[in-house]
């Protein structure tokens, strides 16, 4: 189920990238793809009926082999941060693009030769 969501999201992202003329929408589409991948990563760690993989004094009776994989969640955190970084750089670039080419619409940009 979750896989399907992420696949749909990737599809939306790719569709957005391919069809939109506005560069900011490209950035958002990219972000959507990022999110989709992140959802997918979290989903891979999920074990049906699994428990939280926390092993402390308060939870001594831990069922070995039935815990949710914790690693993907850690990875996703990093991936999100990176996604945000990309978004930030992209957005700042777009501000300059707008200044230089007077538009961020692919069809209306000026001075984009070659």
């Amino acid at each position: 189920m979750v896989y399907i969501i992420s696949i749909i999201l990737v599809g939306i992202g790719v569709y957005g990238l391919m069809t939109q003329k506005n560069l900011f929408k490209h950035l958002i589409s990219l972000s959507i793809i990022d999110t989709a991948v992140n959802i997918f990563i979290v989903a891979t760690g999920y074990v049906n009926g699994g428990k939280a993989p926390i092993y402390t004094k308060n939870f001594p009776s831990f069922a070995i082999g039935r815990f949710v994989d914790p690693l993907p969640q850690a990875l996703v955190l990093t991936a999100i941060v990176i996604g945000v970084g990309t978004l930030a750089v992209g957005a700042s670039l777009l501000v300059r693009v707008k200044e230089k080419h007077s538009s961020i619409d692919v069809e209306n940009m000026k001075g984009v030769g070659e």
Binding site: A79, T86, G90, L94
Partner: protein, 464 residues
């Protein structure tokens, strides 16, 4: 010690954020330190790993330092060092360059798949900032989007690898038996993910815009960063996945060679023409890597080193020319040293004798013939033929056409560097061992999976 390669530029980058005026000297400092560190640990000849936070492999993040990563790091840092010698090229990009340096080093040294993703993304983002120099924003943005997509795909591949093997450690993954269908998915996604940075067709659309957009980007992205990216191609497809997916790489690379050269042929812009040539050379390297043997890979990196040195000179000179002259006809009459270096570098690119490119190209062709591959040499020679066309055309234009009365000062440092490097190319022709020895060691290290696994998983040295 090795973690210093990443730590120092990173640290200095943050320092220079606070004291912006120090960025240039600090970048120089970082480059010098890195070179010192590397020279101090000359060719380890074994696999050393540096674990982080006492997580022994296969857990946690570890840096792997063997001949392959050493040589790659050496080349990467060498070009950063060269760039740091030219303050007017660095300008206000000291911070970005330091971050790029840290990321590239991390990308080369890491032994962890996810970690490599992180470094790749940092590399892309910083490369984008470097690419945006001289108001090249739109092309930088395109690069960012493509890099972002590539990053997502790379991440997806990493996750697939994780689900298939339960580990992110490269050595560990390479040990695991992966079902055929997952292997296809993983290697394909990796090929696409890396393909953007490795300039594989048709994922290399960003190259001309980024390399052609300013004078700093091609100098550093076309040399250090592409070396790092192509190193990872060798590491993943040579060491980790034992040549699975090589067919895809091979096919794409051959198309890349032809496409790159053909596109270079029609280019009217000096920087872009050689940007495309760099695409084609990357194709040669990837195709060679896809052959999988240690010799082939060694020759691939030998070729890449020659190409990187030549491209550094070419882009350095071309960047200077393009941004100081409106009309490039006959400019070399005013800049004889730059011109001579440029010509030597371009001739090395083509593979004329007396220059390094000859050594690598002929060796590659010879190796291919001994592998009974008759297609690739033909493609390569056809590509070289096209290369001859535009290289000669540019040389003739820059040397012999009627000059205009524009004037610019001779760049002393850049000129000296270009001359030294182009003489280095001649030296490599006479004594190929200068590059070949290291490259062959690199090839051996990349092809020898067993040693790698053994080194990473059983011997633990160093730490932090």
């Amino acid at each position: 010690m090795i973690s210093l390669l990443i730590a120092i530029p990173l640290l200095l980058a943050f320092v220079s954020v606070m004291w912006k005026r120090l960025a240039k000297p600090l970048f120089f400092l970082a480059a010098v330190t890195n070179m010192t560190v590397l020279l101090a640990s000359w060719f380890p000849n074994s696999v050393e790993i540096h674990v982080m936070g006492s997580w022994k492999p296969p857990f946690g993040i570890n840096l792997v330092f063997d001949n392959a990563s050493f040589y790659a790091a050496l080349v990467v840092n060498f070009f950063f060092f060269l760039v740091s010698l030219m303050p007017n090229l660095v300008e206000s990009y000291g911070v970005s360059l330091m971050l790029l340096m840290a990321a590239a080093n991390g990308f080369v040294l890491t032994g962890d798949l996810f970690n490599s993703f992180v470094f790749m993304e940092i590399m892309t983002i910083t490369a984008v900032t470097v690419a945006s120099r001289r108001e090249n924003f739109y092309n930088a943005f395109k690069y960012l989007i493509l890099g972002g997509i590539a990053g997502s795909i790379y991440l997806l591949a990493t996750i697939f690898a994780y689900t298939a093997t339960g580990s992110l450690n490269m050595a560990h993954v390479s040990m695991a038996t992966i079902s055929a269908s997952s292997l296809v998915a993983i290697t394909t996604l990796y090929a696409i993910g890396l393909g953007v940075e490795a300039k594989l067709f048709p994922l290399n659309g960003w190259v001309s815009g980024v390399y052609g957009g300013n004078d700093l980007a091609p100098v550093i992205l076309g040399t250090s960063v592409s070396f790092a990216a192509l190193y990872m191609v060798g590491r993943l497809f040579g060491t980790v996945f034992h040549g699975s997916g090589a067919g895809v790489l091979y096919t794409l690379a051959l198309i890349t060679i032809i496409i790159g050269e053909v596109a270079a042929l029609r280019q009217q812009n000096l920087l872009k023409a050689f940007a495309y040539s760099s695409v084609a050379q990357a194709g040669v390297v990837v195709a060679m890597i896809s052959k999988g043997t240690s010799r082939a890979m060694g020759l691939a990196y030998f070729h890449l080193t020659n190409d990187a040195v030549a491209k550094f000179v070419i882009f350095l000179v071309a960047g200077f020319l393009v941004y100081n002259y409106k009309n490039l006809n006959g400019v070399f009459k005013k800049h004889k040293v730059l011109g001579a270096s440029f010509s030597m570098a371009t001739f090395s690119l083509v593979g004329f004798p007396l220059f390094a490119g000859f050594q690598s190209k002929l060796r590659i062709i010879m190796e291919l013939f001994s592998m009974k591959d008759y297609l690739f040499p033909a493609v390569m020679l056809l590509a070289t033929l096209i290369e001859v066309g535009y290289v000669v055309r540019w040389n003739v234009k820059l040397w012999f056409e009627e000059e205009t009365d524009e004037k610019a000062d001779n760049p002393i440092v850049a000129g000296t560097l270009a001359l030294i490097l182009s003489l280095l190319l001649v030296a490599v022709f006479i004594k190929p061992e200068i590059f070949l020895g290291g490259a062959m060691k690199m090839g051996n290290a990349l092809a020898d999976t067993k040693d790698y696994i053994h080194g990473v998983l059983s011997v633990v040295k160093g730490g932090m």
